[in-house]
Amino acid sequence: MTQPVTAVSPAGTPDDADLSLMLTIRAFELKLLDLYGKGLLNGTTHTCLGQEYIPVAIEGLLDPRDHVFSNHRGHGHYLARFRDPAGLLAEIMGREGAVCAGVGGSQHIRRDRFLSTGVQGESLPVAAGVALHLKRAEPGRLACVYVGDGTFGEGAVYEALNIASLWALPLLVVVENNGIAQSTPTARHLAGSIAGRAAAFGIDHHLIGTSDVAEIRRTLEPLVARVRSRSTPLVVEFVTRRLGPHSKGDDTRPAGAVQALREQDWYAWCAAACPGRFPRLDAEARAHIDAVAAEVTARGPSRWVQS
């Protein structure tokens, strides 16, 4: 069943395990940008800098037998589930030990009950299909799908929400509303609101403004329990921030606007709130990722046996 909700740390800061995971995801994403900068990575990547706390909070409410559908910005989703930076980095770098043999790369990963794909909106109907299966075959399990605000432009999202509501499917839709889609601010791509869109289908919607992991879990635990027990969809919308470029080096936002987002970042907030343990955990996370990167970079190329 659901893992127990973590006890509240002083001043609402994450406990050591959660903080350490958030810092590991941050260090991983920064390392990717650094490797790109040095010309050591090929292809593209979308970092979740600023959004790390979301999958960390959500995974605390999920069971390994729940399904997770991730998207193009999925490193945090994967790391929060598997804590496997080496397998993920090997996938992104096409090295031995890659989770998907280097075929899928950053945006196309499947492992156990985790799956990501890079085409926006595609996974919502698929997650609904998996939810339909779970409802009959494994009652109490759910399908969780991460989706960005921009992806609400795709018609498939609404077709899936409609069916999920009509058929009462255990589908947890986690919206990471970071206020922007690639270069387009939400106000220029989304009319009305995500809440209004969920309401149109009779689907419960819950807005989360905080990045306090324990508080998020406390709020969501009964709601997610209802998805399981009553087998009904739920939309949880996080108001969050994308601190980095969309992919690499393609940020056209004014520096001041990005700086303002940095000031609201959980990282700054946690650093100030836990002066004792934060620097230690941060240094540990960075050292861990440095070691992983050095080790993975030295590996041979991934092997793919096409069948």
Partner: protein
């Protein structure tokens, strides 16, 4: 001039000349100017007609069809051509059908631009060459970006057809120069087909769209130097409907061997359509059936070493030709 700049300049010229032309696509406005920067500057010049859209390929292609239905012109940029799959219904079942299914000809002046192709490590859903999926649709023409065809003229031709066109742009071309061919090869363009040749009759004829033309040329150079095999390259701007240009007849009669190169993965390819046209016209004269050269069958992997092994390249072309010539 680089290919991207030629394309950008053509779009700007069209917007200036055609007051009823719209350019629609995801993130196309300034300062971003599109994922591949092809629309850079256009929204600054024409803010009412160059519009960034939500992530809604299906609706946006339908909107272009609505504009075309109203007598306007529309260009849609699909950020990665792979997502033209989401626009397919509008193209197949509405825009192209409307040209004739209402019993009289209805001009639909719209172009859907699709950056395609691999070689950049973007992975299986961002690296495909979808041309083959658009071949054979009545009242829908397929074109491809080429370093030998000036884009303003190509867009004029597409709009003049009065039917929807899909314009494929191999992403690797954007940063390459327009139209340069090094001696001893020379290039001449006529009737929408660029012909790159040597003096004298060729040993084989290579037909390749713009995106693979530089790879075919590199193979032709190494074939000449290493094997003394002389090739003529034909680069058509329009892929479908495909016509063999008249002046290709002499080349094919002389060479008796024809190769079609494209980046598409194996199976149901554009090259198969071209081969059919060549076979119909030259069957008795050919030394062997047309040889199709394309990428491997299977998805296009992300990792550089795996992607390289999957995609058609200069050496695949070189060895396919030497093999067919019994070398």
């Amino acid at each position: 001039m680089r290919v991207a700049e030629n394309l950008n300049t053509a779009l700007a010229a069209l917007l200036a000349r055609e007051p009823d032309l719209y350019v629609l696509g995801e993130d196309v406005v300034d300062p971003y100017g599109g994922a591949f920067k092809i629309t850079r500057g256009l929204s600054t010049g024409f803010p009412d007609r160059v519009l960034s859209t939500p992530i809604s390929e299906n609706a946006v292609t339908g909107i272009a069809a609505g504009l075309a239905l109203s007598g306007d012109l529309a260009i849609v940029e699909i950020m990665f051509g792979d997502f033209a799959a989401l626009a397919f219904d509008q193209l197949l079942n509405f825009a192209s059908k409307s040209v004739s299914m209402y019993g009289s000809r209805l001009p639909m002046r719209m172009v859907v631009r699709c950056p395609v192709g691999g070689g950049r490590g973007y992975g299986p859903t961002h690296s495909q060459s979808l041309q083959k999926h658009f071949v054979g649709i009545p009242d829908l023409a397929v074109y491809e970006l080429s370093p030998f065809h000036d884009n303003l003229a190509v867009f004029e031709e597409m709009f003049a057809r009065g039917e929807p066109c899909v314009f494929f742009e191999d992403k690797v071309l954007y940063t390459r120069p327009m139209g340069v061919v090094e001696p001893p090869f020379s290039v001449a363009v006529s009737g929408g087909v660029a012909r790159v040749s040597l003096d004298g009759p060729p040993d084989c004829v290579v037909i390749a769209p713009g995106g693979v033309a530089h790879r075919a040329l590199a193979a032709m150079r190494s074939l000449l130097v290493e094997e003394e095999i002389a090739c003529t390259l034909l680069v058509p701007s329009r892929l479908y409907p495909f016509d063999l240009p008249d002046d290709a007849d002499a080349d094919i009669r002389a060479a008796r061997r024809v190769f079609v190169v494209e980046e598409s993965t194996a199976g149901g390819t554009w090259g198969a359509e071209v081969a059919h046209v060549v076979h119909r016209r030259h069957w008795g004269r050919l030394a062997q059936p047309v040889t199709l050269i394309h990428s491997a069958g299977g998805v296009i992997p992300t990792a550089a070493h795996l992607e390289r092994a999957a995609l058609v390249n200069e050496s695949t072309i070189h060895s396919a030709i030497t093999e067919a010539l019994g070398g």
